[in-house]
């Protein structure tokens, strides 16, 4: 042991090291006697020094002790049954056994066996009237001996076997047990008394302690009193062992997924976007009709959206939007479109569903939007999907719009580039023609992410006039959606979407940014 940091030892260890020499017999009782430790402190010092390999066992002696049980402690006050019988008979004279039992405060069974023990040695007998009569209490000599042992044990604690003479040992063994000692006065306890000696490195530490000038009286914690009275100036502070493993603390914490979504919101706000939000229950009107998806469109199948059971239909759809959207479906209204050329179903359009795409809220924003304006939302959407690692029944979509007199395809691409760089940290961006029922043209943006490689970041386009005009907008509107789930998973070191919505508290507590 070359580097001994003696300041990192506990004061109790220092005190023990200072009080024992190489040759001393190191035992806990000796520590109690010579250093003034409590027995518990002695045991702690032994375990610390042994764990560091500074002391080792040199001998071990097994010793037997008799400890008072709860019943034994009661006997110290009341006496064993035989003693109580003698006392009552001395006071009351001949007494029938039932009366004797109650005067002694004993069960009939215990009274009988105590009477039997006394009558066998001739200390008592039964007269012709079936009364117990005291003959010669001195013949039951163990009664007085037991009294003496009980009192010694009450005073000194556990009695070492070697401290008892033969007669006492016989007496105590009659009322002691190793296990199940609840019914007797003493519990037999076997203890080993261990003697330790310093190891080689222990000896080095002992010398270092002696040379260190430490007393073992160094201050553990700095107290307010020390600061107030200035005694800290004279104090010497014990060093801490910085290698002890730090404890795990459980702080209050934000959820990392929610934090990630917030960071995306903050980025978008920084790019000039205003947040929108809305109810989870929507109508077919807003969910699809307003987005110029024909009512017979494949994506509007019963197996793709969740229908609300009750009520089934909204009472009304806001005007003039209903009439205008119906007209644009039927014949293009005044948009220059020829429309979808079918009879728009005004009952079906009121059908209530759970929002299946975030674009709903982009459409709902149009009637109240400012020009120029930029809006976004990160909103929960619901899909008729089997839940697995890549599909959830409800999940977040990130969507938005940009309104402006002069926005066009090139500004759409510029905006996508901005998202790719600012939101996703992309190093390269690629645009390909896409298809969405509500935008024309439509563009998909693929990005090269430093960690994830190439993937589709999102879809976008310029809203069709059939979407914007019926909602009162006569300028081009860029519409976009970003798939940020993959980035969220990467951000948190996960690969299963269900983990984002985990209800396992331990996992949520331990989760952190990667």
């Amino acid at each position: 042991m070359t580097d001994i940091d003696i300041r990192s030892f506990h004061p109790l260890e220092i005190r023990v090291l200072l009080h024992f020499s190489e040759a001393s017999e190191l035992t806990v009782p000796e520590m109690v006697a010579r250093v003034g430790l409590k027995e518990g402190q002695g045991n702690q010092v032994v375990s610390w020094l042994a764990a560091k390999g500074l002391i080792e066992e040199s001998s071990r002696t097994a010793r037997v002790f008799y400890e008072l049980t709860e019943l034994g402690k009661e006997y110290v006050d009341t006496g064993v049954p035989e003693e109580r019988l003698i006392r009552v008979l001395e006071k009351d004279g001949p007494t029938p056994l039932p009366a004797l039992a109650s005067a002694c405060g004993l069960e009939m069974r215990d009274t009988g066996s105590a009477f039997g023990a006394l009558s066998r040695v001739g200390a008592v007998e039964m007269d012709s009237d079936k009364r117990a009569v005291l003959i010669d209490p001195a013949k039951a000599d163990w009664v007085a001996r037991v009294r003496g042992i009980l009192e010694r044990a009450a005073r000194d604690g556990a009695l070492a076997e070697e401290s008892l003479d033969d007669a006492e040992r016989t007496a105590v063994q009659g009322i002691a047990k190793k296990r199940g000692a609840g019914t007797v006065a003493f519990r037999i306890v076997e203890r080993s008394e261990v003697v330790y000696r310093f190891t080689e490195s222990g000896e080095a530490v002992r010398k270092a302690a002696a040379d260190s000038g430490l007393t073992g009286e160094e201050t553990g914690s700095l107290s307010p009193a020390m600061l107030r009275d200035g005694s800290w100036k004279r104090a010497s502070f014990r060093s801490y062992n910085i290698d002890t493993p730090p404890a795990r603390l459980i702080p209050g914490r934000r959820n990392p997924y929610a934090e990630y979504l917030e960071s995306v919101k903050d980025t978008l706000v920084g790019l000039g976007f205003e947040e929108f939000d809305g109810p989870v229950v929507e109508t077919e009107f807003w969910n699809s009709d307003a987005l110029f998806m024909p009512q017979f469109h494949a994506a509007r199948d019963i197996h793709d959206v969740y229908y609300v059971a009750e009520p089934t239909h909204a009472r009304e759809i806001e005007q003039p939007y209903l009439d205008q959207v119906a007209a644009v479906h039927e014949n293009g209204w005044s948009t220059g479109s020829r429309g979808w050329n079918y009879g728009f179903d005004r009952d079906f359009t009121r059908r209530l569903i759970l929002r299946s795409q975030g674009t709903v809220l982009s459409a709902k924003q149009l009637p109240k939007a400012k020009v120029p304006g930029r809006y976004f939302g990160i909103v929960r959407c619901f899909r008729y999907d089997q839940v697995d690692a890549t599909h959830l029944s409800d999940f977040y979509q990130t969507e938005g719009i940009v309104l402006g007199e002069d926005v066009n395809l090139r500004t759409l691409l510029g905006m996508l580039k901005m998202f790719a760089e600012e939101v996703a940290g992309a190093t390269e961006v690629k645009y390909v023609p896409g298809y969405f029922p509500f935008t024309e043209p439509s563009v998909e943006v693929h990005i090269k992410h430093p960690k994830l490689g190439w993937f589709e970041l999102g879809g976008s386009g310029i809203f069709r006039p059939e979407v914007t005009a019926p909602l009162g907008i006569d300028v081009p509107v860029l519409a976009w959606g970003l798939g940020i789930d993959r980035m969220a998973l990467m951000h948190l070191g996960l690969n299963d979407l269900r983990e984002l919505f985990s209800n396992d508290l331990e996992r949520v507590r331990l989760r952190r940014r990667k």
Binding site: P251, G252, R253, N255, Y257, A258, E262, K265, V269, G272, F273, E274, E275, D277, V280, V281, A298, H303, Y306, V308, E310, P311, A314, G332, T335, G336, S337, R338, Y342, L354, P372, R380, F382, Y384, S393, D394, G404, V407, N408, L409, R410, T411, L413, G414, L416, Y431, V432, P433, G434, Y435, E440, P441, V443, R464, P476, F501, N503, D504, L505, V508
Partner: protein, 578 residues
């Protein structure tokens, strides 16, 4: 979005050159197509098509045609199309339609294709086109169903009539016995898939030839004799039936162009209707029914952000296979016979964009100045979260769909199985995928308790919260429902009592500068006498208390747990002084 399988060799033939994989992949973006799987050992390639309005691209011939033209090939001119003004000669190739079909399945179109004996690749392609067209574009055969027959075995004129489903019978494909139409609906696999389209009509669509031989039971199944086309056949009769004539005519034109590209000669068929149709009573198909569409170069320039002349537009549209010409300063486009997706000039603008090449547009930054802003609910929620984290709470994020058991039964002060609680305050899904996701949550508390139920292994105390949405029924709203932003919090610990939760809530409200009062409340989710309503500005804003032991037992939670739920909207209106 349809996915098709095609032979790489056949695709190369239609394109007219063999493209390297990376070139092919890039060129496919012109058709909004992506390679799903590169070719296997049989040379079969899987491709996903994204544009649901371009069914002409869902075949090897159609996809190859678009790529060939884009790469500089000539725009094909097909000479077999009739118009209403100029019908082609049909000879004996006539289909008579029965008046009884008018309200069942009124329209039919078709043609005869004769030429080289058909090979496996072409046959595979026709069958695939049939499936994709009828499923994705034809609304699962409701709007378009297609049949292919061996025309050398049949005799014109063909009769398309409304037949008695019990008295009419033939041997359908994949069967060896004659069946009535009604039997096919219930017993034949295709009948079970598609029979519902016509099952409710007293009479059903039926096609037979001049000799009374059955062709098919549209839209369900072909006859095993005339309707079983095999490799080596060289003369085919194709027919399509449906409910929307222009959709049907487009599908018919697509199949005719594909077969023409495969080397077949297309011979028109004349349809004789006893009732008026949008195309008239006598209609020759394949028919060119599209009308010209126009775009002003100035509009295209504005929409796309690049200066474009009429000549530019015409040239770029040509790459997309569209013949265009200048007309009064505008560009007039004659849609190809296999396309009908130009609803608005913006649709033409998209073709110009693809013709121009996506990579040739220089991205530019948005010019307008706008102010970014979070919603008031988001701003307040963030303040609430900051205070709660300081008070030792862990934020959770939960799904919004769940079961009746979790959202309702377990929250009752009776054993879960004995609950007969009323769900009329909850938003229920009519078509749930599973009973595990049947309701929108009416409260955040069941979500938080679901976490407690699985987190007994996590070191206590547990202090958790979520701010999220809940939905409840509300007759005051037109939708009969209401979505609220709600804060829920739960404290689970040996020493968690009413006072613990009240102190946390009170401290939180103090720092949000919201004055609240508490008032004893009865809420069966909580222990009687240990529950309080939270009042803000005199109105109920939430509830808190010690959860009822029966509720905890229902969740399998064996730790005293207290909870609170507050409506963020109520706090918001107080905060903004409303």
């Amino acid at each position: 979005m349809p996915k098709i399988e095609l032979y790489r060799n056949a695709l190369d033939t239609y394109i007219g050159e063999k493209l390297q994989n990376d070139v092919l992949e890039e060129q496919l973006s012109v058709a909004k197509a992506e390679v799903d799987e590169w070719e296997d050992e049989h040379g079969l390639l899987k491709i996903e098509l994204n544009d649901t309005n371009r069914p002409d691209l869902w075949s090897t011939a159609g996809l190859g045609r678009q790529l060939r033209v884009y790469r500089g090939g000539d725009i094909p001119a097909y000479d077999f199309f009739s118009t209403t003004d100029a019908p082609k000669e049909c000879g004996s190739r006539v289909v008579h339609v029965d008046a009884g079909l008018k309200n069942i399945r009124p329209y039919i179109a078709g043609f005869v294709a004769s030429g080289p004996s058909i090979d496996a690749s072409t046959l595979n392609d026709i069958i695939q086109t049939q499936e994709k067209l009828c499923w994705n574009y034809g609304q699962k055969r409701r709007a378009v169903a297609m049949g292919i027959y061996r025309s050398d075995l049949m005799r014109f004129p063909v009769s398309y009539r409304a037949a008695d489903p019990d008295a009419t019978q033939f041997v359908p494909l994949a069967e060896e016995r004659a069946m009535s139409l009604r039997q096919m609906i219930t017993e034949h696999p295709k009948g079970r898939d598609f029979g519902h389209i016509v099952a409710d009509f007293p009479k059903m669509p039926y096609l037979e030839d001049a000799g009374g031989d059955a062709l098919s039971f549209p839209p369900v199944i072909n006859s095993a004799r005339l309707g079983a086309v095999e490799v080596g056949d060289s003369s085919l009769f194709i027919e399509l039936t449906g409910t929307d004539q222009s959709v049907l005519h487009l599908a018919c034109s697509i199949v005719a162009c594909d077969l023409a590209d495969a080397g077949f000669t297309i011979e028109p068929v004349c349809i004789e209707y006893p009732y008026d149709t949008p195309a008239g009573r006598t209609v020759v198909t394949p028919q060119y029914f599209q009308t010209p569409v126009e775009i002003e170069p100035a509009f295209a320039s504005k929409w796309l952000g690049v200066p474009l002349t009429a000549d530019d537009c015409i040239r770029l549209l040509g790459r997309m296979g569209c013949v265009a010409a200048e007309a009064r300063g505008s560009v007039r486009v004659q849609p190809p016979p296999y396309r009908n997706d130009f609803l608005h000039p913006v649709d033409i603008a998209e073709d110009i964009m693809i013709g121009y090449g996506m990579g040739n547009f220089e991205p530019t930054m948005l010019q307008d100045f706008t102010v970014g802003r979070l919603t008031a609910v988001e701003v307040l929620s963030r303040d609430v979260k900051t205070v709660l984290v300081g008070l030792g709470f862990q934020e959770m994020v939960f799904n919004y769909l769940g079961s009746r058991r979790d959202y309702l039964d377990r929250m009752q002060p009776v054993a879960t199985d004995e609950s007969d609680a009323d769900d009329s305050a909850m938003v229920r899904i009519q078509n749930p995928m599973s009973e595990n996701y049947e309701y929108v949550r009416p409260s955040v508390l069941p979500s938080l308790l679901s976490a407690e139920a699985v987190s007994a292994h996590a070191v206590y105390p547990h202090l958790i919260f979520e701010i999220g949405k809940v939905a409840v029924r509300d007759a005051a709203d037109s939708s009969g429902t209401r979505t609220d932003d709600v804060l829920g919090l739960v404290l689970s610990d040996v020493e968690s009592t009413f006072n613990t939760v009240r102190d946390k809530v009170n401290t939180m409200l103090y720092f949000l500068n919201i004055d609240a009062r508490y008032e004893a409340a009865d809420d069966s989710r909580f222990i009687a006498g240990r529950c309080a309503r939270i009042l803000v500005a005199g109105r109920t804003a939430g509830i808190m208390g010690e959860l009822h032991p029966q509720v905890l037992e229902n969740w399998g939670i064996s730790m005293p747990t207290t909870a609170a739920e507050l409506n963020i909207g109520s706090l918001l209106s107080r905060e903004s002084g409303v």
